[in-house]
């Protein structure tokens, strides 16, 4: 099966053009839309349905920075970064714990403005981390293989930030009822 980048006709890069990706998604889904195969054979209809699933799965990977980075790492180095592992970097984890504590306090106080400001702070950390991961992917050239361990560690960090953002959203929704 084609990897998600190939399926979408994209160069395997970490940074991608989001409007271009959405446009490609629409075109590709249209091409396999069930209506086009309404008079086709069962086999053609099934193939169109399977293709739709493949396209949607690949899109899900490409639009998520974490999953896109994992897919690219797998493609370039063969390393699977999707397993359940334990991270033990004390400095980083202590920082993450403090962020969750801050979130807990804001959530308990039902401080909506505080939560919005906090979300902005984490989003900017997430942006920086995405740029950071991109730098590591860019280091590949004829003289340098990718440092898969280092990239994995940086993807893990992005995953914790993402989780904090999900928790912030949940806290906001709880306040709004």
């Amino acid at each position: 099966m084609k990897n998600p980048f190939e399926l979408f006709g994209l160069e395997p890069n970490f940074l991608l053009n989001e409007p271009e990706l959405s446009q490609k998604l629409r075109n590709m889904l249209q091409a396999v839309h069930p209506d086009r195969f309404a008079s086709g054979s069962d086999q053609e209809q099934l193939a169109a349905m399977q293709k739709t699933t493949q396209i949607n799965d690949a899109y899900g990977i490409l639009k998520s920075p974490v999953r896109r980075a994992q897919a690219l790492l797998q493609l370039k180095t063969g390393v699977d970064g999707t397993g359940e592992v334990t991270v033990k970097d004390p400095m980083f984890l202590m920082q993450q714990l403090e962020l969750r504590e801050e979130l807990e306090i804001l959530s308990d106080k039902k401080d909506m403005n505080g939560l919005l400001a906090f979300a902005e702070e984490i989003e900017s950390m997430e942006k920086k981390q995405i740029a950071n991961i991109n730098d590591f992917f860019q280091q590949e050239d004829e003289n340098h293989a990718l440092d898969s361990d280092k990239i994995l560690t940086e993807i893990y960090k992005l995953q914790f930030l993402r989780k904090t953002l999900i928790d912030i959203e949940a806290a906001e929704e709880k306040i709004l009822g």
């Binding site: 334990t86 714990l97 993807i155 893990y156």
Partner: protein, 127 residues
């Protein structure tokens, strides 16, 4: 997903939540995290001069199973020697809490946390 009664009990009445000063003599701190689910766990032990864990505390941000696993392990390690504490297997935790297969990693995290706390304690002692 249905949680077992024991998980719910630990989740609703977590034992030993809190912190010790990590600079304090005899305190070992273990920090672990699971990137796949974003859980963060801090587990601390307070060890007496003869190597017995007198007290343990935890702080976990994660799902019910992760909170229950860390709560349970703080109960289990109290009164144990640091070597005995390191012998605790994640499978014992998973069995006690009746964790479903998708939540086994929560018990692994708790085992890794106690190991990290013991090794932090040993490192501090050797200084």
């Amino acid at each position: 997903m249905a949680y077992s009664e024991k998980v719910i009990d630990h989740y609703e009445n977590p034992r030993n939540v809190g912190s010790f000063d990590k600079e304090e003599e005899g305190v070992g701190t273990g920090m672990v995290g699971a990137p796949a689910c974003g859980d963060v766990m801090k587990l601390q032990i307070k060890v007496s001069e003869d190597g017995i864990i007198e007290d343990a505390k935890f702080k976990t941000y994660g799902c019910g199973s992760a909170i229950a696993s860390s709560s349970l392990i703080t109960e289990w390690v109290k009164g144990k020697s640091i070597d005995e504490a390191q012998e605790i297997k994640n499978t014992d935790i998973a069995e006690e809490l009746a964790l479903p297969p998708v939540k086994i990693h929560c018990s692994v995290l708790a085992e890794d946390a106690i190991k990290a706390a013991v090794s932090d304690y040993k490192e501090k002692q050797s200084k």
